[in-house]
């Protein structure tokens, strides 16, 4: 139910939504056909929703099904809208709101390039070991670390590398599944 407020509203609704914004991870199962990603992204851009992270890959070659994992931010009402709007797209099988669905696992991979010499270099390598990052490439001047884990862990690793000669980062975006013996 709406409660009347003092603000002047509009024939076009531009009053502020007082609900808090939340970050949700959605898992979108789609037919892997040409243009399907454009449909999903176009819908999100066209309706003014946010994307914080997006990953896409085919998960069943036989059935041509891809899984799109996207992280978005919005009020509960907006998140519900995004879910239902995505479900309206013809090639979309189902949309699972993993965040609303309960505990789930999120993982991301990042390649982190650090250039440095001397103490900084030693420190970078020490931290990488502490974070269980692998050395994917190295020379006497640089390292490329490969780190996997929760996005927050990767954020933290990157911020620690900053003073140690961080020059570049490539992140895959989040892959996510629900915990437990559920199918999602």
């Amino acid at each position: 139910m709406n409660t009347p407020q003092q603000t002047v509203g509009s024939a076009y609704f531009i009053t502020k939504d007082s609900d808090k914004e939340e970050s949700h991870t959605l898992s979108v199962l789609v037919d892997n056909e040409p243009g399907v990603l454009a449909r999903v992204i176009g819908l999100i851009a066209g309706r003014g929703y946010n994307i914080d992270s997006l990953t896409v890959s085919e998960i069943s070659h036989q059935k041509h099904i891809s899984r799109i994992t996207l992280v978005t931010i919005g009020t509960p009402q907006v998140i519900e809208q995004i879910t239902h709007q995505l479900e309206r797209l013809i090639p979309v099988h189902r949309v699972y709101d993993l965040t609303a669905g309960g505990p789930h696992i999120e993982r991301e991979l990042a390649l982190v390039k650090v250039i440095g010499k001397g103490d900084a270099r030693v420190e970078a390598l020490r931290l990488a070991e502490a974070f269980r990052a692998l050395v994917a490439d190295a020379s006497t001047e640089h390292f490329v670390f490969q780190i996997t884990g929760r996005p927050t862990k990767i954020d933290q690793f990157i911020s620690l590398m900053k003073p140690l000669g961080l020059v570049n980062v490539a992140r895959t975006g989040i892959a996510a599944v629900s915990r437990g013996a559920e199918q999602i």
């Binding site: 709406n2 009347p4 509009s10 024939a11 531009i14 809208q81």
Partner: protein, 585 residues
């Protein structure tokens, strides 16, 4: 081995098998093979329009007045881009359409070839779905699937983009398979428990109101019948959106008139003060709700909609029911009759008394004028003189559209075709063409404005060529009247570019096209002129010269709630909208 057909032949076969009898189109290089097949077949009739936008609106009028899928055929590039307005219009008003577009040969796609446009890219946001057919083997299946998607669930436009080489290629033809789709499965039946809850809420309500929309009409004639039964049985007042007019007969006592920005006083106040709102197939559009935070503040809300994304989109509801209107109403009526719940007759009587007091405001009254034809009078007379005919009404967009919705009274669904969601000037004339094609012996009238009709006027030529005696009833106020009204309200009466100085002589224009022109300038000429228009068996441009500064009331101004309405006798409309409201549209 199964017989092979060319792509163009497959298109024709598939359309025929889908029951298509009429096709609105315009040829060009990229669809010539299909046109060649059209020349050699007689399963359907092709209506040559004068602009692709006209083909799409004609297909819309055809679809809305029949409940069938409307079909358009256009060429690549400019043909397809000209179709975009019609597609968007159909998308917003949930009209089932198929639009076949020619495309450059597959090998040239992406090469900036002559008349190439990224049609699936351009039309992605303005269609329910679209296809680029890259393999001849997919063609028949794609066309059948497109029809299924266009007509089921929440209907909408579907584009099939067919490269020219696919039209020439040979492949097998397949008949439509069993209905169904691997990912697209519209939900028709509502949740029974929720419907039971709805019955309880309705029975217990003290001040209920039905708020119905285009979904009732899209659901088919049965839905209207069920709605009438439900409303009469429960004796609950009912209002409707622009798109839903006709689903419930305007002559019944429960009818409150249209609601929303230009809705009636009684409809809007009933919405504002109700304790239970029963939304059936409407979508809480912003022209309906006005100021959202003051929209029906104290009501419990039930929302029946086939599209889950309509639920809680703008207005949070208490009891959503996902399903097709006819299915849900059927279950609701059955449960109601099983239980025969007792309604609170005392509270209901008080509610009706309140409504009668609002009705006494006579919000649609206007000052008569002895010299000039008042636009409201023109519609009233048009209604009186055509109500016993088999009449279909389309409109353009502007003041005349709102006057049509207010003063013409619709008794049946599918009789009123208007551009509600997109508000497309130029919709009504070609839409009337489509309606006339579907109903050749009916009286089809486009209530137009002098501005709007000039956007698609060239379709008069189509009407003459195909012997379609559409009547274009123009409320000529020499203004882009609705723009002028807003400028009067919001911009200190500075009429920036809303006055048309060089309006053509519509009578001569009609004659130039080979139609008939009729003009009425005085109230006492009106009836005879309208009768003449009805009797003419040719396309007519009726130039109805009306009082040119009349405004459309009631009106809920920007930034206001339903209970703050401007009525016809409001004195100074220039100061009616608050400073804050003026920046809103």
């Amino acid at each position: 081995m199964a017989r092979e057909f060319t792509g163009a032949e497959i298109v024709i076969k598939a359309l025929a098998e889908q029951g298509v009898e009429h096709l609105f189109g315009y040829p060009g290089g990229a669809v010539l093979p299909i046109y060649d097949e059209i020349f050699q077949q007689n399963s359907f009739q092709h209506i040559l329009v004068r602009h692709e936008q006209g083909a799409l609106h004609a297909a819309e009028g055809y679809a809305r007045s029949t409940g069938e899928v409307g079909v358009a055929l256009v060429t690549s590039g400019p043909g397809a881009t000209n179709a975009v307005t019609g597609l968007t219009d159909a998308m917003l008003d949930s009209i089932p359409l198929i639009c076949i577009t020619g495309q450059v040969p597959t090998a040239l796609i992406g090469m900036d070839a002559f008349q190439e446009a990224d049609v699936v890219g351009i039309t992605r946001p303005c269609t329910k779905h679209n296809y680029l057919v890259k393999h001849i083997d997919d063609l028949a299946k794609t066309i059948h699937e497109a029809f299924y998607i266009a007509r089921t669930g929440r209907p909408g436009p579907v584009v099939i983009d067919i490269p020219k080489d696919i039209q020439f290629a040979s492949g097998p033809y397949q008949s439509p398979k069993k209905v169904g789709h691997s990912t697209y499965r519209p939900q028709l039946k509502g949740d029974q428990n929720d419907i039971r809850k709805a019955v309880e809420l309705i029975a217990a309500a003290k001040r209920p109101v039905f708020y119905t929309g285009g979904g009732v009409i899209n659901s088919g004639s049965a839905a209207s019948q069920l709605l009438i039964e439900l409303v009469k049985m429960t004796d609950i007042p009912i209002t409707s959106t622009l798109m839903g007019l006709g689903a419930f007969p305007a002559s019944e006592r429960q009818w409150l008139g249209m609601l929303g920005m230009h809705g009636t006083y009684e409809a809007n106040l009933a919405m504002h003060d109700c304790d239970l709102m029963i939304n059936i197939g409407a979508r809480f559009d912003d022209r309906i709700t006005g100021r959202l935070d003051a929209f029906s503040p104290n009501s419990t809300k039930i929302h029946v909609d086939i599209d889950k994304s309509s639920i809680n989109k703008t207005v949070k509801v208490d009891l959503p029911i996902i399903g097709d209107v006819a299915h849900v109403l059927e279950d609701l009526l059955r449960i109601w009759k099983d239980k025969s719940p007792k309604q609170n007759s005392k509270a209901r009587a008080a509610w009706w008394q309140q409504i009668d007091r609002w009705r006494e405001k006579k919000c649609l009254s206007y000052k008569p004028d002895a010299e000039k034809i008042m636009p409201q009078l023109a519609i009233e007379r048009l209604y009186e003189l055509t109500k016993h005919e088999d009449t279909y009404i389309t409109t353009e967009v502007g003041q005349h559209q709102m006057w049509a919705a207010q003063y013409y009274r619709f008794e049946e669904p599918k009789r009123f075709m208007t551009s509600g969601g997109l508000g497309t000037m130029g919709y009504g004339l070609p839409a009337a063409l489509g309606v006339q094609v579907a109903h050749p012996d009916s009286l089809v009238i486009d209530i137009g404005g002098d501005g709007s009709v000039q956007m698609t006027m060239q379709e008069m030529s189509t009407a003459v060529q195909h012997g379609l005696p559409i009547k274009i009833f123009i409320l000529n106020n020499s203004y882009l009247g609705m723009v002028r009204q807003w400028q009067e309200l919001l911009h200190g009466g500075r009429y920036s570019h809303s006055y048309s100085e060089a309006i053509p002589d519509f009578v001569k224009l009609a004659e130039a096209y080979g139609g008939v022109g009729i003009r009425a300038e005085k109230p006492d000429e009106l009836d005879d002129a309208i009768k003449e228009m009805i009797s003419v068996d040719k396309p007519v441009l009726f130039d109805c010269m009306v009082q040119n500064l009349a405004n459309c009331f009631p009106m809920i101004p920007s930034g206001e709630a339903h209970n703050h309405m401007l009525l016809a006798d409001s004195e100074d409309i220039g100061s009616a909208i608050s400073e804050k409201g003026k920046v809103l549209v």
